[in-house]
């Protein structure tokens, strides 16, 4: 498949630009600090003692400072939702960059791990050099207390080991496998970040590396009182020059003050404020208005909360204290509150049955929308008290900002688009969107009943209002069954087998020449990868497909 430059720039350009800027910032910081320590006058004696290990360790430390401060920013979800929604950032390109906030967080995290390894290795070499090149000329400069001592029981050493251990725990539990199978391990270890940052800020107390404070009075390399110019190079020096090169003072050394707090405190305060704000916002418990059972083990929860406003495509985070005080699970909203109706709803997939007996019945609920494998036990009776945090923004909010949109849903991934369809049902005229293509791929026929009524209602409404071409629906299943009679609009649009994406995109491209079509995919990785590749490929009709993915954990 030939990649078209225009499509590639439209889809990948922004992301890669940000990546280049970030890499450039890291490289510049590394080189600047390296050169400072290798050529700076105030580090002359230290550099002579420790060699390049000093420069590498300090340069990697400054890169670590930068990344530790940047890593928190993409996780300020309320702030990002506000930026996305308020249209203060008016360009759609910039809003699409916000979709990649988690990727940026991961990139900074990986950089932290890599540079930690570099930093620790360089400091190990420094410790050895401190012991081997013990300086008798400048005893204040030494870390070791006597020649040959390998000293590691000082504050930077001990805090460094603790930091690496916490980073190790956080990193090993954040791999894709562990997140998908045991989200709790990931969540609890990742919340150790606060301990990490506190220890990081005291890491440099009692600094081991010192700089020289009196460079004018004692230029590095000057002659000491007990040396004479004639020893140097055996040349005849004039009296005046000899005087000039003599040190007026002994060298004074001072350790650096910890500087990490300058980098880190801003984003850390911002993130803590955000978490506090989210906690306050989610303090009101929600009232559950209805629970509706759907086929294929799906239940719909309709809830009511004061001052809750959401846009189509956003998601909320649910917390059930009867189950666990600290666990929060995200769900995409399937119904948003409007002026007429204040309830909002989510769809949950239920695994297992109501078990247990007596007063409390327990139900295993397998969560839909974000990660299909996380389990939450719900207590049926009194502790159906839920706390809702959010709403948070997601890429699917942009459906209404294109002229033509294609929404591709795989199975339960239809939930963000259900909200979009509800919004269309309320009033489709006010949006920029002129045409919506909707492709829903399911394994079983029964899954379509989750939103069959909604789809038919939208279809009928648009037919009555004389816009039959606004909503183009295609349903795909892999089994050969027939839908019920009352869903006739769906039966005639039901196709057996997997969709052929290339033909579908070609058909859409032919009917929408020279337009920008927004492609929104919420489904398994196979579908999203194929669609992404097709969106980047060349097209003769001049249509550009902009790919937006709703990610599953």
């Amino acid at each position: 498949m030939v990649v078209s430059v225009r499509s590639w720039v439209a889809n990948e350009g922004g992301k890669h630009l940000v990546l280049m800027l970030w890499l450039a910032a890291n490289t510049w910081l590394f080189l600047k600090t390296f050169l400072l320590y290798s050529t700076g006058q105030q580090y002359h004696y230290l550099y002579k003692m420790l060699g390049p290990g000093l420069c590498i360790s300090r340069a990697s430390a400054s890169v670590l400072n930068l990344n530790c401060s940047l890593v928190l920013l993409p996780m300020c979800r309320s702030l990002l939702t506000f930026v996305r929604g308020s249209h203060t950032v008016s360009s759609r390109k910039t809003r699409r960059l916000l979709d990649k906030s988690k990727t940026f967080h991961v990139a900074c995290g990986v950089a932290i791990c890599i540079f930690s390894v570099v930093h620790v290795s360089a400091h190990l070499v420094n410790v050895i050099n401190f012991s081997v090149s013990y300086s008798d000329d400048f005893p204040a400069l030494n870390l070791a207390r006597y020649r040959g001592e390998v000293r590691h029981t000082h504050i930077p050493g001990v805090t460094g080991v603790l930091l690496v251990l916490i980073l190790f725990l956080m990193f090993t539990s954040s791999s894709y496998c562990v997140r998908v199978s045991n989200y709790e391990i990931f969540w609890y270890t990742h919340n150790l970040f606060i301990v990490f940052y506190i220890i990081l800020m005291v890491h440099m107390v009692g600094g081991a590396l010192k700089y020289q404070t009196n460079i004018e009075a004692h230029p590095p390399g000057c002659l000491r009182a007990n040396q004479s110019g004639a020893e140097q190079l055996g040349e005849e020096l004039e009296q005046g020059e000899d005087e000039e090169r003599r040190c007026r003072e002994e060298a004074h050394f001072q350790p650096h003050y910890p500087q990490t707090w300058l980098w880190v405190s801003g984003p850390l305060c911002l993130y803590c404020a955000e978490r506090f704000y989210r906690y306050i916002r989610s303090c009101d418990p929600v009232t559950i208005v209805t629970v509706i059972r759907h086929p294929c083990d799906v239940i719909e929860l309709r809830m009511l909360k004061k001052n809750f406003k959401a846009r189509p495509g956003q998601y909320i985070v649910l917390n059930c204290p009867g189950v666990s005080s600290f666990e929060n699970h995200p769900f995409t909203l399937t119904t948003c509150p409007t002026e007429n109706k204040e309830t909002f709803g989510i769809h949950l997939r239920v695994v297992g049955d109501w078990t247990g007996g007596g007063k409390y019945k327990y139900m295993c609920v397998c969560l839909s929308g974000f990660s299909a494998n996380r389990l939450v036990y719900f207590c049926q009776r009194c502790v159906f008290r839920l706390y809702v945090d959010g709403p948070f923004g997601s890429p699917s909010e942009e459906v209404f900002n294109y002229d033509v949109s294609l929404c591709v849903a795989g199975g339960i991934g239809v939930t963000p688009f259900a909200c979009v369809l509800h919004a269309l049902l309320d009033g489709w005229k006010g949006f920029r969107l002129q045409r919506l293509y909707f492709v829903w791929v399911c394994r079983e026929l029964q899954s379509f009943y989750w939103f069959a009524e909604l789809l038919c209602a939208v279809h009928h409404k648009l037919w009555q209002e004389n816009r039959p071409d606004y909503f183009n629906l295609k349903l795909f299943i892999s089994q050969t069954d027939n839908l019920q009679e009352k869903y006739r609009p769906l039966t005639s649009r039901l196709l057996v087998g997997r969709p052929r994406w290339k033909l579908l995109l070609d058909e859409i491209a032919k009917t929408n020449n020279n337009k920008r079509v927004g492609v929104f995919c919420c489904g398994p990785k196979g579908i999203s990868r194929t669609l992404h590749r097709l969106c980047n490929s060349a097209r003769s009709s001049g249509t550009t497909f902009e790919f937006n993915k709703e990610s599953f954990s």
Partner: protein
């Protein structure tokens, strides 16, 4: 909390510890630290731990994702039978391997990390988990759908002959005559 598979986390940790041990050992040997023999041991131990931990185990419930190219490692590790299947053996093995790393500054981190991984493996073993190889499954061919083999016997239904006949006397009206009514389905 549900059923957490501790072994999966322990596997990630052990692999990472192996790499940390390896890196620490390389630094120790390259810098010719005092006690560099421990560093040389750490290099060998790190490589061994990485090779042992690279193949992921099959999950008891749910889909297992293998690491790239892990099939040959799976075959090697499987051939040791109960020694590699049992997580008690792994826990004690890792605990034993990590001890010599604690004698040298460069490898002490690898030692501590491997120790943590060994503890988690112990917890996994107590909960009765064991290592299962992920072997490729033979794909069964999907049976061809029945509808292909039975083409329709009758032609599609058509309206009766009177409505089908061409209305030559009234050509203008005939152009817009639909024999079947239009509905919104």
């Amino acid at each position: 909390m549900g059923k957490i598979e501790w072994a999966m986390w322990a596997n990630e940790q052990a692999l990472a510890s192996g790499l940390i041990l390896l890196t620490g050992g390389i630094v120790g040997v390259a810098g010719q630290f005092r006690g560099w023999q421990f560093a040389a041991y750490a290099v060998a131990a790190g490589v061994f731990v990485c090779l042992l931990e690279y193949p992921r185990s099959k999950r008891s419930k749910g889909t297992s994702v293998e690491r790239t190219g892990q099939y040959c490692f799976t075959v090697c590790v499987k051939s040791f039978g109960p020694l590699t299947r049992n997580y008690y053996v792994r826990a004690f093995l890792h605990a034993a391997i990590c001890v010599p790393g604690g004698f040298m500054l460069a490898t002490v981190l690898g030692c501590v990390c491997l120790g943590i991984a060994s503890i988690i493996y112990f917890v996994a073993a107590i909960r009765g988990e064991h290592w299962e190889p992920i072997l490729p499954r033979k794909e069964s061919r999907m049976p061809v759908a029945e509808s292909i083999k039975n083409p329709p016997q009758n032609p599609p239904p058509r309206p009766p002959a009177e409505t089908r006949r061409k209305r030559v006397d009234d050509l203008e009206d005939a152009a817009y005559d639909n024999p079947i009514s239009v509905t919104d389905n």
